[in-house]
């Protein structure tokens, strides 16, 4: 079926089976492979993207459910040359090891800022990260990165 999605600010007309998941269209049809598939069972959050600003698991949403919506993936928030403050914070705080969970963690960080603003506590971030799994870091540095990234977003906008 035909669907129209705005992805990272650009309108895309996509022809895909109704059963296509959003993560499949992003990765396989549009080549946006920054959104990862960790579990494919709604547990890990590696597939997190923002749909109309809110974080969702792209493995548990049909692409057709995003028809007419605006989708932001990890590719849309920064570039290698100009990292988003949240991405830079992950690098600075050693918030990643293998990096597989990182795109989803960064998007989850942006969701936390959307809901709670830029002044975050480690307790709040830990609670809000319930839907994201990391098999490497032990989370401590991820939480530090999100707290620091949020604070840096405040400065970036000031």
């Amino acid at each position: 079926m035909q669907m129209t999605l705005t992805i990272n600010g650009e309108s895309h007309s996509v022809e895909a089976p109704a059963a296509s998941l959003l993560v499949e269209v992003l990765r396989d049809q549009l080549g946006l492979t920054g959104t990862h598939i960790g579990c494919d069972t709604s547990q890990c959050g590696a597939c997190n993207v923002l749909v109309d600003g809110a974080a969702v698991k792209a493995c548990t949403m049909l692409a057709a459910q995003a028809h007419g919506s605006s989708v932001t993936t990890i590719e849309g928030i920064g570039s290698e040359a100009a990292l988003h403050p949240m991405q830079a914070a992950f690098r600075d705080a050693h918030g990643l090891q293998c990096g597989f969970c990182t795109p989803g963690m960064v998007m989850a960080g942006l969701e936390i800022v959307r809901k709670h603003g830029t002044k975050l506590t480690p307790e709040l971030v830990t609670h809000e990260l319930e839907g994201n799994l990391c098999r490497c870091t032990g989370y401590i540095n991820i939480v530090k990165a999100i707290v620091a990234g949020a604070a840096a977003m405040e400065t970036a906008h000031a």
């Binding site: 079926m1 109704a18 059963a19 998941l21 959050g45 997190n48 049909l62 057709a64 809901k115 994201n132």
Partner: protein, 258 residues
């Protein structure tokens, strides 16, 4: 996932017509956070999905002594918007995780009636009226055991009216991996008396009538024990452990009434 036809109706009547017109099995789609996982594992293989999110059934409004919540209202919006019933807002804020709450809906949770889901406990304790495209059900009649409700095949939940209690609270002991309730207890004090609903412990949500009677009589609930005979026993918890947790969750809920 096997492919299917997807319908996006703009009215309730168009939705039921699309359901009825399906050659084979049709299913309604709301947040998809139960249905899509079930379709991925081929527990469900519908020929057509009828999306309910374009029907204008989202929103929260108060009418007298009831709080009405549209069927397609997302858990995240109930968490922030159901301020008239803090216990209900708090329950919604504890469903799954942030991303699940951004997609899952009230109507989908009630229609599915998972024995470990949270909303059924609130609906039962808050004496909810579940309105549909063809009438209404009281919560007492709606839940009929594991994954079974009073809904007819193509019936659509449109909105749910929760009685606004004097005080209420929900306490849940989460399964640490799935975040569903191993046991969840919703207590509500209404002008007409207490209602106590238990989810996760048995094959379906149920009212704990002994606890209600004790609260109504003003006697101590500390020694109340729920018989383990009818409770679930599985790799996660024995029936005896679940019975014990019911008492602990009741105590926690009573300590956090708001």
């Amino acid at each position: 996932m096997r492919d299917f036809a997807l319908h996006r109706p703009a009215s309730v009547s168009a939705a039921t017509a699309a359901f009825a017109g399906t050659d084979g099995e049709a299913a309604y789609l709301a947040g998809g956070h139960t249905l899509i996982p079930a379709m991925k594992s081929r527990l469900r293989m519908p020929d057509a999905l009828v999306d309910l999110t374009g029907l204008g059934l989202s929103g929260i409004s108060r009418d007298g002594d009831r709080l009405w919540i549209g069927a397609t209202t997302r858990h995240a919006d109930v968490a922030t918007g159901a301020t008239a019933i803090p216990g209900l807002a708090c329950l919604a804020a504890g469903i799954g995780d942030a991303q699940v709450r951004n997609r899952g809906t009230l109507g989908g949770s009630l229609a599915n009636n998972d024995p470990a889901a949270d909303y059924p406990a609130a609906a039962l304790a808050l004496d909810a009226v579940i309105e549909t495209d063809r009438g209404s059900h009281t919560a007492d009649d709606f839940f009929q055991g594991m994954f079974t409700t009073a809904l007819a095949e193509s019936e659509i939940i449109t909105r749910v009216g929760f009685a606004i209690p004097q005080q209420s609270s929900y306490a849940k002991f989460r399964h640490p991996a799935s975040r569903y309730a191993m046991v969840g207890v919703y207590v509500a004090r209404h002008a007409g008396g207490w209602r106590v609903a238990v989810t996760g412990a048995g094959p379906g949500v149920f009212r704990w009538t002994d606890a209600e009677a004790a609260l109504n009589a003003g006697t101590d609930t500390a020694g109340l024990v729920l018989a383990a005979d009818d409770l679930n026993s599985d790799i996660h918890a024995s029936a005896e452990y679940r019975a014990h947790l019911c008492g602990v969750m009741l105590k926690q809920a009573l300590a956090t009434l708001a």
